[in-house]
Subunit: 365 residues, 2 copies
Amino acid sequence: MQTIRVATPSARYDVFTGSGLLASLAPRIEKAVGRLPRRVFVLTSPEIWSLWADTFLCSFSESPVALFLAPGEQHKTMASAERLLREMIRAGGDRGSLLIAFGGGIVGDVGGFVASIFMRGIPYVQVPTTFLAQVDSSVGGKVGVNLPEGKNLAGSFHHPRSVFADTGVLGTLTDRELRAGLMESVKAGIIRDRALLRFMEENAEAILDRDPKALERVIAASIRMKADVVSRDERESGLRMILNFGHTVGHALEQVTRYKAMLHGEAVAWGMVAALSLGRRRGTITAGQLDRLESLIYRYGPLPALKLRARKIVAATGSDKKNVGGVRRFVLPLGIGDAGVVEDVTAGELEAAVGYMLAKAKMAS
Amino acid sequence: MQTIRVATPSARYDVFTGSGLLASLAPRIEKAVGRLPRRVFVLTSPEIWSLWADTFLCSFSESPVALFLAPGEQHKTMASAERLLREMIRAGGDRGSLLIAFGGGIVGDVGGFVASIFMRGIPYVQVPTTFLAQVDSSVGGKVGVNLPEGKNLAGSFHHPRSVFADTGVLGTLTDRELRAGLMESVKAGIIRDRALLRFMEENAEAILDRDPKALERVIAASIRMKADVVSRDERESGLRMILNFGHTVGHALEQVTRYKAMLHGEAVAWGMVAALSLGRRRGTITAGQLDRLESLIYRYGPLPALKLRARKIVAATGSDKKNVGGVRRFVLPLGIGDAGVVEDVTAGELEAAVGYMLAKAKMAS
C-alpha cells in the first residue's frame, strides 16, 4: 500500500492505494474522520454494488444506507443530485452525516457534489472503482454535475476526507475501460512525469495484461502527479490548468457525441492528439517528440472512430470552463514531461489541430 | 453611511448601509472586486426590477444581464437554480463573471447559491432590498434553496464580496413586510444587544413610522450583531447557532403552512414566543423578563393567527438542520441580551412551548 498526501490551503488528506483496502474500509475511514456518525451513506451504482457489496460491508458493524446512481453521463445531472439529497433527508441524514462515494468518476463527482451542498456541506470519502477515477477524478476536490449546455458546469470545490483506491477492484473492468483510464496516466506522463512516461512506453504489455505490480506503479505515479499539482494550485488559478491537457478538444468530442459514443479517456486521447499537433505547429515539441508521444497514445488504444465535422467540434470548445473573458485557454505540450497554458490560440489553429486529429482517426479506422 | 466589517477565516468583506447606495453601485462594486468583468449578471425579481431598474443601472456603463426569479418560497428550488445556471451559460457567463443578487432574502439565497456552484464558484455581491434581507440573510455567506422536505436543505457557505444595504429602497415595503423584517432586529436585541433592545422598546413608534434615522440605527445595529457573530463562528459550529433563536419553531410553522400563510419574520416572531416560554419553564428568564420580551415582539406585530395542531408543529421540528446525530438543538434566552444552545430539550417541553404559543395566538385573534 502507498500513501500519498494532498495538502492544499483548505484541506489535508491522504490517498491510499493498494490491494485489499475495500475489505477494511470502516476502520480506515474511522481513522481519517474520527468516530463514524449515526448516518453513513454510500452512493454507488447498481453494478458495482452487486459485485462488491459483501466486501464493502464486511468491515462495518452497522451497514451504511445505500443510494444508487445509474451509470452514464446522462444521469450526472442536477435532477439526480436533488433526488439523492431528498433520499438522504428522508433516511435521517443530518449535518453530521458522512457520504462514501463508491464507484467510477461519475459517482465520485455526483457524490462529492451532493456532499458539498447537503445542508451546506458534509464530509465525504472517495472509494474509486475505475482506473480513471482512481488516478484522476477522486483526487483534488473538483465535484459537480453536467448541464445540457456542457460538462461539469455546476459544481464545487469540496475535498474528500480520504481516498481509498483499491487496485483489487480493477479486475472487473473491461479492457476498453482500462485502456481509456490509462489515457489519464499517459497524460500525467506527458505533462509532468518523464519517468512515468518511459515506464509506460517500456511496460505497455505488462500494464495492459494487468500485471499487479506494473499497474500499481502507474496508478501511484499518476495519483502522485495529480496530488502534487493540486497541492500547489488548489483552485486552478495557474499550474492546475495543465491537468486539462487534451481536455479542450476531448470535452468538445464528448459534447457533440452527447457523451454516448466514447469513454472520457478515449475522448481525451483524441484531444491529446489534437493538442500535440497544435504544439508541433507552434514548435513547442519537435517532430520526433510528436511521433513518440502520439505512438504512446495509440499503444494504449485502439481509439474510437470519429465521424464528425471539424467545425462542430471547434464550435463546441467555445463553452470550455477554462475560457475567461472571451480568452480561449489551451494547454500545450512543452517537450517531453512538461506543459504550459497559452491564451492566444486562434480558431484557425484549433481547426488545423482538429483536422489533424480527424485525419488520424480516418487512417486508424 | 456606515461600514461594517465581516472577517472570517475564509473571507473579509464590508457591509455598507445608508441611503443612496443604489445609484452609485458600479464604482462601489469595482472598488470591492477590482475591474468589472465582461459579463455581469443581476438576479432580481420582476417587481423590484420594475421599480428600481433605472436607479440600479444609472451607474453602469454597460448594463448587466438581468435574470429573474419570481417571488415566493415555492421558487426557491433546485429547478430554479438550474434554470439560472443555464441562462448564464447561454448568455456567455464564464469563470470570471460576477453576479449581483438584487432583491429580498430569496433572491439573495438563490443568487448566492447559483454563484457558489456556477462553474464551481464565481464572486457575487448582495444588494438586499427588504428589511429582512438587509439585517439578516445578506450577511454571513449562508446560501441555498429549499427541498420539498424542508427549507434551505441544499446550499453552500459562499460569502459575498460586498453587501450594499440601501435603506432608501425600503420605502416601497408594505407595513406588514417591514414589521416582519423588524422581528430579526428584535431577535438581535434579545440574543445579544441590550442597547438595541432598549432602543426598539423606546422608539417603536418612530421606527414603525419609518423615521430614517431610527430605521438606520436599527439596521446598522442588527447588521453589526450578525457580522460580529459570523466573524467569530463562520461555520455555525458554536456561537452562530444562537442566530437561530425562534427559528426551530419558526421554520416548523413555515413548513406546515407550506411557506404560504405567513412571512418568515412572522413565523420567527411566534417561534420566539415559544422559545421564550421554554426559557421561562427552565428558569433561564424570569417571569418579568418573559413579559418584557414578549411585549416587545407584539409591539412590532400584529402576528398572524395560527390555526394549527401542536403535534404537527412539533413533528416538523424533527428535520431541523441544527439537529445532529438525533440530538435536538434549541436556542434559549438567557436573561436579557444573551442566549445559549441546549441539546436536551424534550418532546414534552417542546409541546408545552408550542401549546403556550398557540394559546397566545388564540388570545390575539
